[in-house]
């Protein structure tokens, strides 16, 4: 086979994030002997599974050039709704969860309709949704912290194990893989990328940008709802600020993963790597017994470094490609 410089460059560009993750892992292994154990790594995965689940669906908004800030409020609300249906309404747990998920879709659909049909920027629509969904959650839960005692099948979602690994990790991996296939190997995924890359050109190619965006926000809504159910089961609690602040962690994971907020590209695998990277940092700081008050500062700086490193490798390759063309 002929040596193809462009192909090699692309291969490096495509896997550079993974290389950065390995580097980070290597550094942490040197700093703490307890880092590189199966148990610890499984702990890290477990700690990022809610972020991973939310990212698997929330990534489509940036792919189309939008953003979804309502995922955390949606997740908290979903936990409360599931509790109300199962434990107050005495509904069968499967039916209760199905209705909860349908509600998640509805929340996303409303976001989608508002951004497309009423031409309100996604940032504002989902920012408002974040607030009113929180308000709705406060109303339904009376502002209380609810403890969920059962049913056992429901609690098993969060605390159960399979082959030694917690079930939420499997849920996250399945959703990440499904989302990867949806983005890269289906017509819908292509359309979402096209809408983000150039909406006019996409429209002239037969894509319906409005319909695509409505589906995008619906997906974001349903994955947030899944995360909310897993979280309620895992913490055995439901309350309005349960997932508070997660939307920014989700966006961090997506952006560190190489997805541009401007739209037109996206990497689900990257988002998972991004989430794991943040998990690594937090875990490493814990292992090294660094006080909690220092941790956000270090995390922020390392995220920034990862982003710059990511860009830094991309720029020269990009310039060379330009010169060649």
């Amino acid at each position: 086979m002929k040596f193809d410089r462009a192909k090699v460059q692309r291969l490096i560009a495509d896997s550079r994030l993974f290389i950065i993750l390995l580097l980070l892992g290597a550094i942490l292994t040197i700093l703490s002997p307890r880092f590189l154990t199966i148990e610890n790594l499984s702990n890290v995965l477990w700690s990022v599974c809610l972020i991973g689940i939310m990212s698997s669906g929330a990534i489509y908004a940036p792919v189309t050039g939008g953003i979804d800030l309502s995922v955390a409020s949606n997740a908290s609300l979903s936990g409360i709704i599931a509790y109300e249906l199962m434990n107050v309404g005495h509904m069968h747990w499967v039916l209760a969860l199905a209705i909860t998920l349908a509600f998640g879709v509805l929340i996303g659909l409303v976001n989608g309709v508002l951004t497309t049909k009423f031409r309100v920027p996604a940032f504002i629509v989902t920012m408002a949704a974040k607030t009113y969904l929180f308000g709705f959650a406060m109303l339904v839960s009376n502002g209380a912290t609810i403890t969920i005692m059962g049913p056992p099948q429901f609690l098993a979602i969060g605390v159960g194990k399979f082959l030694g690994l917690p079930i939420p990790i499997y849920i996250m991996l399945v959703m990440i893989i499904a989302s990867h296939i949806l983005l890269k190997h289906t017509g819908f995924g292509r359309k979402a990328i096209a809408v983000g890359a150039n909406e006019v050109a996409a429209k002239l190619s037969g894509v319906d940008p409005d319909l695509t965006r409505m589906i995008v926000y619906s997906i974001s809504g349903v994955t947030a709802s899944v995360a909310g159910i897993v979280m309620a089961s895992l913490t055995q609690q439901a309350y309005a600020p349960n997932a508070s602040g997660y939307e920014l962690d989700v966006i961090t994971a997506i952006v560190v993963g190489g997805t541009s907020l401007m739209g037109g590209n996206g990497s689900v695998a990257g988002a998972l790597i991004g989430a794991v990277m943040v998990g690594f940092i937090n875990n490493g700081l814990n292992l090294m017994n660094i006080p909690a008050s220092y941790q956000p500062l270090v995390t922020g700086v390392v995220i920034l470094l990862a982003l710059i490193l990511n860009q830094g490798i991309k720029m020269p390759a990009f310039l060379r490609l330009l010169k060649r063309a």
């Binding site: 017509g187 292509r190 096209a194 890359a197 150039n198 050109a201 002239l204 037969g206 037109g264 063309a325």
Partner: protein, 510 residues
Amino acid sequence: MSEQKEESGLLLECRGINKSYNGPMVLTDVDFSMRHGEIHALVGENGAGKSTLIKIITGVTNRNSGTMRFEGRDIGLEHSRHAAQTLGIAVIYQELSLIPGMTVAQNLFLTKEPRFRMVRLIDIRKMNAMAQEIIDCYGFHLKATDIIDHLSIAQRQTVEILKALNSKASLVIMDEPTSSLTSTETSQLFDIIRKLKEEGIGVLYISHRMEEVYNLSDRVTVLRDGRKVAVLDEAQIDPAEIIRLMIGRRLEESESHHMLSRRDGEKVLEVEHITSERKFTDISFSVHAGEILGIGGLVGSGRTEVLRALYGIDPIDSGSVRFFGKPWTPGVAQSIRTGFGFIPEERRLQGIMGAISITGNIGITNLDTIRKSLFVSDRKELSLARKAIGLMNIKPADPAVPVGNLSGGNQQKVVVGKWLIRDLKVLFVDEPTVGIDIGAKEEMYQTFAQLSAAGVAIILVSSDLPELTRLSHRILVLRKGRVIKEFAEGEVTEEDVLRASSGLVEGGAK
């Protein structure tokens, strides 16, 4: 020096201007002058060098050689936008340089706002009063507190002009200012231009509309192929003569006469009395299999709008369309599935997804053929991309390269190529060769000829007259949203088309 200034009395004097961007000469030895308080029209075909000359005068680009004097002062080879502004040269853009959310006064005084003496905050009341004073002084129908967003395009142009006047411009340049104006707005603009002239301000006016040039100008400079061919004084201005000068040399070449030929293939598309409010009125025509139907006319005559409506992007208010004899309601997705293709104008804005690979750009239009139930076949998509790259000779022939990294010609080949791998029946083409090199242009022409030979009906909109007359089997000319002329048989020249576009249908000047 100052004596000379008095002698020549010229506002602007350019001598022997030469310019080339990489390689071919865009301007060769061009002389151009403007007197104080004159309305001077600059005319020429697309590519004649008008925009380049304007860019040189306004300092957007630098000339390679030649001298330029403005109000008696020499302008060095290193000219700049800022220098042009300081000298008093202003360009009126349609809306680009205004900030939409701000008021007229805020735009007029941007960065030059009057301030209170003690606390250096902006004195809004004083600013509004000052702005209103300027507006009233010229008798414009505007309020200082109007917000730009709420103004019509014509009013925005007025604000642009005010901005130029406020910065003490003595030369105002307008590039096709009427292309998006209604006729009332146009006549208002003309009043303003005449008022500027009374104030002693020179107006350099670029237009394709002969009647405007005829009505408005004191002098006309005609450019052709980057050279000045004539400067006409008021008494000599005659639209038919101007058109002859613009086309000029090519008339002597055999290429400028084109035989139109009838195509008697099956009627693919029949358009009957379609109308879309404010865009076009009562358009009827039909296209046969294997026919290239050219649509000529000026920018803003409704050409693009007709294509967009037939492809299904914009709605049609009344009238009907038949496709192979059956009633047809256009809609983009169905159009594509049924065998329509569309090559839009403004490649970067509408044609390509720059950050996405050639494969991705081609795949998105062909999702129907590369999709098996839910999933897209990467293998099929890649083979389609390779096929298109081969058919159009796209370079580099690497399907994974982002289209934004290709040259203009190759980008356009991707836009065309994605239709060639489909079972095409009708292809709409809008200004297909703007900004691409000659080699790519020729390849594009061959592609259209091959498609036509294969029975595809092509509707071609082009402002490039040699292109339009060379490729078309039949030519419709639109003017103000209506079909004003059809050239169906016999011989057609670029001059014929341009005269029809300008409203000089039956030869005589108006």
